[in-house]
């Protein structure tokens, strides 16, 4: 995988590029700010990244988590912030990451989101993208796939997850106020999860080609 700085840059790029789209998704069943919130956070991350020299993946992810916590706000700030902090703890002191560590980081991130948000899968949240992604990732590993392929499988599962969010009622987050009326709409937070996974996949593939 490319270095962690490039990875975070890729996350920032895709989130900022999709600011409007994410906000529109949130507008339909939330309060029209998810893209704005996330873009604000990743703009701040970009600024910090410019001054980051360490190759310690854990240190960089911790910086990302803390920056998101202190700039995003809303529901997604604490959730993504906690997710990055938990992943950071796993990667502490490391400069390269293998499949196993990547899977563990994803699991820890999901655990952070669940601790903080008290949601489970099927409530129309980020978890509906992340949990299937994690399962697909580990399934790929079990089948002996390399990191780019595992990420690709995870991204595809997240894509299916966001489709799935259209079919269910929200019972967590702001969309839960809508009850049945939330059906038919895609969850914004699940979508930002999917976008980040797809950016990582693209980066991993490109990195292998270049290598």
């Amino acid at each position: 995988m490319a270095n962690v700085i490039a990875a975070i840059e890729a996350l920032a790029d895709i989130i900022i590029a999709n600011k409007e789209k994410l906000t529109e998704l949130d507008a339909a069943i939330g309060d029209a700010d998810h893209g704005i919130n996330m873009a604000r956070g990743f703009e701040a991350v970009r600024v910090k990244l410019a001054a980051t020299t360490t190759e310690d993946i854990g240190a960089v992810l911790k910086m990302v988590g803390m920056t998101l916590i202190s700039t995003v706000g809303g529901a997604s700030g604490p959730l993504y912030g906690t997710a990055f902090m938990r992943a950071a703890a796993i990667a502490q002191g490391q400069t390269v990451i293998n499949n196993d560590t990547a899977a563990e980081m994803l699991r820890a991130a999901i655990g952070g989101i669940k601790d903080r948000g008290k949601a489970v899968r099927g409530e129309k949240t980020m978890l509906d993208a992340l949990e299937p992604a994690y399962e697909a990732f580990t399934q790929g590993m079990a089948e002996g796939e390399a990191l780019p392929e595992c990420l690709e499988l995870a991204t595809a599962a997240a894509a299916a997850g966001i489709e799935y969010t259209k079919t269910i009622i929200a019972t967590k987050g702001r969309a839960s106020y809508l009850g049945e009326r939330s059906i038919g709409h895609q969850d914004a937070g699940a979508t930002s999860c999917y976008l980040m996974l797809s950016a990582l996949t693209a980066l991993a593939k490109q990195h292998r080609q270049e290598a």
Binding site: I36, S70, Y177
Partner: protein, 332 residues
Amino acid sequence: MKKVINNAEQVVEEMLQGVVAAHPQYVKRVAGFDVLVRANSPVQGKVALVSGGGSGHEPSHGGYVGRGMLDGAVAGAVFTSPTPDQVYEAVKAVDGGKGVLLVIKNYTGDIMNFEMAAEMADADGIKVAKVVVNDDVAVENSTWTTGRRGIAGTVFVHKIAGAKAETGADLAEVQKTAEKVIANVRSMGMALSPCTVPAAGKPSFTLAENEVEIGMGIHGEPGTHREVIRTADETAEHLLNKIFADIALGAGDEVAVMVNGLGGTPLMELYVVNRKVAAMLAEKNIKIAKTYVGNYMTSLEMSGFSVTVLKLDSELKELLFAPADTPALVQF
């Protein structure tokens, strides 16, 4: 989007500067943070109250910082819960040694961010307690949802818990009083038109020329349903009946009423609504101890209103009538 602003990204910062410029006798800024605290903070020997949330609900919450109400208010981005570090700074700035009560509106984001701040303050040894306001009866309060939203009833929590804190009560007592308000306050709103978050640049929803949204949230969250606009009386009746269905109120009970404008509604119309609300309460022989009509918890320029009813006992009534001196609410 037509707004009197300079820059959508700077609007909260510039608003806060404008508030401090207008009301130096009431508030000061915690430098570097989007936090307003009383000019004389920290007030020693008194439990401090901190509230906050996304901006765009002005005068909530900065307008209620002052004697008899809040000690500090944290302003998030428009309609976005403030971050934990901001809340934490507010707590540190107002703590006068008797602890800090966080008044949180029941939104996932607010709860998580305020909780993280409380954890940070705890670690510093500051006593922190929390209450969560969930007065909006438009939302079903089931275990299958995140529960009801906090809307205009929050202002009664600020007023009454704030007055309790001025009596010198300790943190547990102030929290208990706040919880009593929360247990007895119900609200419901409706919107005639949407509002536009400056950074989004366009309205988050649209309503047809003759359509209104009943049960609208204060962030443009959809309500229970849309309908063709009815008369003020019919609409007020619908909202009030939803409230009556949720809280036992009968002859001889005493209440406080708030008819709250969402930002774009003429005061004239709020008073037309209040006429009906007062008449309906009179019909049930419910006594109105005090009525507030105006823009107390807004949604930027949204047009519409909410009705709040707070059931009083003698403690709540006395505290409701206690003096307050803040930019947005003054009473002798």
